[in-house]
């Protein structure tokens, strides 16, 4: 019996998911690296904070963020940014990898649209970063005293899902962009530092009025403020509703823009004849 188009595309998404996982599992050292890297990265900031304020808590910090717990602030930022950066690296870099492997042209020449492949990669990336974040959360709960109750986890999950939908839209556009520019590392690093500067991953952006103003354009800021509010400050549902609305609107914009940009850039590379070029 002939399959319908959506069935074929679902099959392709599943096949891409399995393929990505198999390739990852063929490099066990990289998996270990990605599992310990987020924590190794955050520890110097924890120690730095302690050295500066003398403990894990600061009154000046409380005035800016509402919570004096610098340690928990940075750890939550590290956890959530793991999702964002793995989306940028994984999905943004994925088509570059296909080009490098020499398989990109065979994907383009097949009846399955490369966006379908990107969805498969996104799901694989999502699954992998979720495992990493659970691992991080367990360590944070065990060693740094941050409590994750079910009442807190559910709204946080909602916010993470909303944050990541928009970011995957952004990453899809970025994947299309890499088809054109043939370079990933420099761009991802630049974006990482833009996010570090203009969103409260490592520090409260309110310390500077410019960063505070610009940070509102980045969904990560909204998500981090709300997630920290839930975990550290027990914020009310009204604040959550506002953030959910803003993130949902940003998702619509980012997903739509990501989709159309990708379509345009993929077609442009086919017109320029650079689809298989490194």
């Amino acid at each position: 019996m002939a399959h319908r188009r959506w069935q074929i595309e679902l099959g392709a998404i599943a096949a891409e998911f399995v393929k990505t996982m198999r390739i990852w599992f063929s490099y066990p050292i990289i998996m270990v690296y990605w599992a310990v890297f987020p924590l190794l990265w955050v520890l110097p900031y924890v120690f730095q904070g302690r050295a500066l304020v003398g403990s894990a808590s600061s009154e000046a910090f409380r005035q800016l963020t509402g919570s004096g717990n610098y340690l928990a602030f940075v750890l939550i930022g590290a956890m959530i940014s793991t999702f964002v950066f793995s989306a940028l690296w994984g999905v943004g870099n994925s088509l570059r990898e296909e080009t490098y492997w020499g398989t990109m042209e065979y994907i383009i020449a097949s009846p399955t649209h490369p966006l379908v492949i990107l969805i498969g990669k996104t799901l694989a990336e999502w699954a992998w970063s979720t495992v990493m974040v659970i691992f991080q959360a367990a360590i944070i709960a065990l060693f740094f005293g941050v409590q994750f109750t079910l009442a807190k986890i559910l709204p946080v999950l909602l916010l993470v899902v909303l944050l990541m939908i928009g970011f995957y839209g952004f990453a899809i556009a970025f994947a299309g962009f890499t088809l054109l520019i043939k370079e990933v590392h420099g761009w991802v690093h630049t974006l990482e530092w833009v996010f570090f500067l203009f969103s409260p991953i490592r520090y409260p952006v309110q310390v500077n009025p410019i960063t505070a103003a610009l940070s509102t354009l980045i969904p990560l800021t909204w998500a981090l403020v709300a997630i920290r509010g839930i975990i550290l400050l027990n914020k009310t549902e009204i604040n959550l509703f506002q953030t959910v609305l803003v993130l949902a609107l940003m998702d619509i914009v980012l997903l739509t823009a990501g989709y159309f940009l990708f379509i345009y850039l993929e077609r442009k590379t086919r017109r320029d004849g650079t689809i298989g070029m490194h």
Binding site: A15, G102, S110, R267, I275
Partner: protein, 341 residues
């Protein structure tokens, strides 16, 4: 009244009309427009094994990439069974199987079976139907025993077999084989050639567009051949018709040690064309002329002071001689790209 089936059979499997493709290369004032395809036109009926023969840079791969929808041409139309490849890309992509040269076209960290499973999904093959098809192809290509090993452990020839399996995985009507034996050792090259001709074309009846710059390969496999040079189809004929293009001609082949200046040979009476290839310290001079014995002694006298002669042979013209005769370019040469500033 014709029935629908015969109508369908009358439609060419592949029809390219006046295909033009230009690339912009370089930056700023040094930007150049390179005309890779300059009105390429060819029609391939169903079931034919059709060759596209030309030197490097002639436009063979560009045309294949346009047909496979990897490149969007600037002008012209490409039709698969009457359907425009860009307007009805889903239909056309489902009917095309693609094989390119080079080892790096598969996932080396996956096994042959896992590679095939992934690409099967892109063509809508799943479940038992997919597994049966993969098993059949692995058997057909002699890969069953190594099917679960990662490709990084395979030889180049084995990887090309997996690529071939991928090309025919979804049982396409048309195969685009771009230099399928390039870089393979003679044993694998022979196997691939035999498989293309006997299994895919003669037994399965697939329409095949084969690009190559190996004249022997085109001569051995193809029913008809298009000569392509500088993005244009120079001519389309059967190999036998091509060879008749230079009737009553012989080819005098002389091999000598060193690199003699052969330009002076063109001034000798009766010589129509001279081509020299230098490889590993040995020059092979091929001279097209009506009768070799008439000028043989003069040619030897001309070359002897410059190089040590290793052998002299009189041969029938090959497709390469015809190609040189018609275009003035050797198949082993790199074609100068046509540029427009």
């Amino acid at each position: 009244m014709k029935d629908k089936q015969s109508d369908r059979l009358n439609i060419p499997a592949l029809d390219c009309q006046k295909v033009v493709k230009q690339f912009r290369r370089g930056r700023g004032f040094k930007k150049k427009v390179i005309r890779a395809l300059d009105g390429a036109t060819l029609t391939v009926p169903q079931g034919e094994l059709f060759g596209l023969l030309g030197p490097n840079g002639a436009g063979k791969t560009t045309l294949v990439r346009c047909i496979a929808t990897l490149l969007i041409p600037d002008q012209g139309t490409i039709r698969i069974f009457g359907n425009d490849v860009f307007q009805d890309s889903l239909f056309c992509r489902q009917r095309i199987g693609l094989l390119t040269s080079g080892e790096r076209t598969l996932y080396w960290k996956l096994s042959a079976r896992d590679n095939l499973k992934f690409f099967a999904a892109l063509y809508g093959l799943t479940g038992k139907q997919r597994d049966r098809r993969i098993d059949y192809l692995l058997d057909l290509l002699g890969l069953r025993e190594v099917a679960n090993e990662r490709l990084e452990r395979y030889s180049s020839g084995m990887k090309q077999k997996v690529s071939l399996a991928r090309a025919i995985l979804h049982d396409p009507d048309i195969l685009l084989l771009d230099e399928p034996t390039l870089g393979l050792d003679p044993q694998f090259g022979r196997f691939i050639r035999q498989f293309i001709k006997e299994e895919l074309n003669q037994k399965q009846g697939k329409t095949i567009l084969l690009t190559t710059h190996y004249m022997d390969e085109a001569d051995e496999l193809c029913a008809r051949i298009a000569f392509i040079n500088r993005g244009r189809i120079v001519d389309i004929k059967t190999p036998a018709e091509y060879k008749r293009e230079i009737p009553h001609k012989e080819v005098l082949e002389i091999r000598c040690l060193g690199q003699p200046d052969v330009n002076g040979l063109k001034n000798l009476n009766g010589i129509e064309q001279v081509q020299a290839n230098f490889n590993d310290g040995i020059t092979t001079v091929r001279i097209v002329l009506p009768r070799a014995e008439k000028v043989l002694s003069e040619v030897i006298e001309f070359l002897r002071p410059q190089a040590r002669l290793l052998g002299v042979d009189v041969k029938e013209p090959t497709l390469e001689d015809v190609f040189i005769y018609m275009t003035g370019t050797s198949l082993g040469a790199d074609t100068q790209e046509q540029t427009e500033d």
